[in-house]
């Protein structure tokens, strides 16, 4: 389902390869198993490539979210400001993530989308979380799935199909160095690795970065040594710190000029309902952070009433609260099985909502009793101010999302 305009190039190659294998089968057990090995290996390699791209998408998406949290409302309302450092970072990361998705799309054509869906769905959810947060900040609404999918349509040249490194690879990403340093974020939280940890491939996943370049890139055996040099071209990072540790047989000079003359293929990535819902469920955690931070700002007198077109912090918190309640009632309307991963996230959603409600309550009740600065500090720490039940729980839920 990943794309609808099937690439004539890819299908032709595949068909002839399968026919070639078919005509050679049945001569001896050992020879047959040799072909089976090639078939299985192609599958494992592709899975590994997708897992690596997914990790990068995950990392960059997390950074997109952090960048959004750093931005002030005046940076993105009524439109994205070009001067805001946080938003510039967001946009750059977003562009990189789209390239990573573009690259992944090539491996996710046709039936292969669902074949590897479990490998990439965590990355999808993180990306959806980032994009829906941005959409909410700018539009004050929930981002529709169609808008997400509109971003995930890619024009791909035949050269890119044959060599996905032309889209994004070692040394081409301007954030090559950061990809690794921030990589710890994914591991520390472990939020999205949780499911994959149980998967049998996990062991290989851990080893993956140490492995040499992919066997499928047999086209250029000499390519491997060039890895470090090409990495130096694009960024000061060295090869191991680059986020993309896939095939490295790219020659940075060739691509663009040739690409313009070749036929292109439209590839699309579909967002599954489940990933969309899980992404939204994660969004609620970010909204909780946003609400608490905004509530904190409301206690800082200097920031109030700057611009009439922007809602006051109090209004914004109320808006977030309403948004979360709407999301919750939407989720509550779904009939889910206990097994569904979505029902597992519902508990977190509820805690996020309760935490904001409790915080609002505390500001209301205790607002007059503490100096604003102290109250603000207490809010930011997610401290239970003694009002209502479940304060402790919600504090714990908050910590999960903060680092």
């Amino acid at each position: 389902m990943a794309e609808h305009a099937e690439s004539p190039l890819a299908t032709q190659q595949h068909a002839s390869k399968g026919d070639m294998i078919r005509s050679n089968l049945g001569k001896s057990i050992v020879q047959d198993f040799g072909y089976f090995r090639d078939i299985l290996e192609e599958h494992h390699d592709r899975r590994e490539r997708i897992i690596k791209v997914s990790r990068d998408i995950n990392n960059f998406s997390k950074k997109m979210i952090f960048a959004l949290h750093r931005a002030e409302p005046k940076d993105y309302l009524p439109q994205f400001s070009a001067t805001s450092e946080a938003l510039v970072e967001f946009k750059e990361k977003h562009a990189t993530v789209l390239k990573l998705f573009h690259r992944a799309t090539i491996d996710l054509q046709g039936s292969n989308y669902y074949r590897y869906q479990r490998s990439i769905s965590g990355a999808f959810q993180e990306y959806i979380e980032a994009m829906t947060l941005e959409y909410y900040l700018v539009h004050g609404k929930l981002m529709p799935k169609s808008a997400l999918e509109a971003d995930l349509a890619f024009t791909t040249t035949a050269e890119q199909m044959a060599n996905p490194d032309l889209i994004i690879a070692i040394g081409q990403s301007p954030f090559g160095g950061e990809g690794r340093s921030g990589g710890g974020g994914g591991g520390q939280r472990g939020k999205f690795n949780k499911d994959s940890r149980k998967r049998p491939y996990n062991k290989d996943r851990e080893e993956a970065p140490k492995r040499p370049a992919n066997p499928t890139s047999a086209g250029g055996p000499a390519s491997q040594p060039s890895a470090s040099t090409s990495a130096v071209d694009g960024s000061p990072s060295t090869a191991p710190t680059s986020p993309m540790i896939i095939e490295t047989d790219q020659t940075p000079l060739v691509p663009v000029a040739v690409a313009t003359f070749s036929p292109t293929v439209q590839l699309r990535l579909e967002v599954t309902d489940e990933d969309y819902l899980l992404g939204i469920a994660d969004l609620t955690g970010e909204l909780m952070r946003l609400a608490i931070n905004t509530l904190g700002q409301s206690l800082m007198p200097t920031l109030q009433g700057e611009d009439a077109s922007i809602l006051s912090p109090e209004q914004r918190v109320q808006h977030i609260l309403q948004f979360l309640r709407d999301i919750k009632s939407g989720f509550d309307g779904l009939s889910l099985t206990k097994m569904s991963p979505i029902s597992k996230k519902m508990g977190v959603l509820k805690q996020s909502l309760q935490k904001i409600e409790l915080a609002c309550y505390n500001v209301k009740v205790r607002g007059a009793e503490y100096p604003p600065e102290v109250l603000r500090q207490m809010l930011m720490n997610g401290q239970d101010l003694g009002g209502g039940g479940g304060g402790g729980d919600s504090g714990a839920a908050g910590n999960e999302d903060e680092e």
Binding site: H14, L25, I29, F36, L40, R46, Y114, D204, D326, G330
Partner: protein, 240 residues
């Protein structure tokens, strides 16, 4: 302030989730049929362990009758899977499909004492084997086929034991040879730490079992290693 979330969107998702659940239910019931026929064939082929070797062709013929049912079930299943969503639902039929592959593989072995070819497997089920790693229509994956082959090694090691009991001392030798050939085939695969790998690790125990049988037979001079068996001794040995 309200209507920030279009609740209609959740309705749409609910509807599509219900659709998916229906598809799954339909696939499940088709798979149940497949599973039932699998068990019928298994019951027939199980008799091979208690039959003499002259009865084997009749058993295979009987099993083959059921394979036409399997073709029907698989073609029913094929119609239920939406295009490009093969792997979305693959888990629902993968197990029975592996079993069906095994049964075809076993039937073929009993008839011809060799490994089924991909062409023959496709003939059994009227479905192609996915050699392209790019399934367009419903196909049998190479992994499912290989799972079937692993099951075959296990079954054959059992057959080796029972062949001796029923007085057929040559069969274990042939089985041993065949299993070693299969094992060297499997050794060519670079298996990941998946279910196929775990089952592959079990093959060596099957081989060991058959080797022990051959050892027992050889030590008692019931069979001469690497040559024709000693027919005269059979009368004194364990005859059923």
């Amino acid at each position: 302030m309200s209507n920030v979330v279009d609740l209609g969107f959740f309705d749409a998702i609910q509807a599509s989730m219900e659709n998916e659940a229906t598809t799954k239910d339909n696939i499940r019931s088709a798979v149940r049929e497949l599973d039932r026929t699998n068990r019928n064939i298994t019951a027939v082929l199980n008799r091979v362990h208690s039959s003499s070797k002259d009865q084997v062709p009749a058993l295979c013929a009987q099993a083959r009758i059921y394979f036409s049912d399997i073709q029907t079930h698989i073609s029913d299943l094929t119609k239920l899977v939406p295009p490009h969503q093969y792997y979305k639902y693959n888990g629902l039929w993968s197990g029975p499909m592996q079993q069906a592959c095994f049964l075809a593989t076993l039937t073929m072995y009993l008839e011809h004492e060799r490994l089924i070819t991909v062409d023959e497997l496709e003939g059994f089920f009227a479905v192609k084997v996915d050699l392209d790693n790019n399934i367009t229509d419903f196909q049998i994956s190479v992994e499912e086929f290989l799972h079937g082959v692993v099951s075959l090694t296990n079954e054959l090691s059992r057959l080796a034991v029972n062949a001796v009991t029923s007085g057929d001392f040559t069969r274990p030798v042939r089985i041993g040879k065949f299993l070693k050939e299969l094992y060297s085939g499997f050794q060519l695969l670079n298996l990941k730490n998946d279910s196929l790998r775990k089952r592959f690790d079990g093959i060596k125990y099957d081989i060991k079992k058959v080797e022990e049988i051959i050892y027992d037979l050889t030590v008692r001079k019931l069979v001469v290693a690497n040559t024709e068996p000693v027919q005269e001794v059979i009368g004194t040995g364990a005859e059923v």
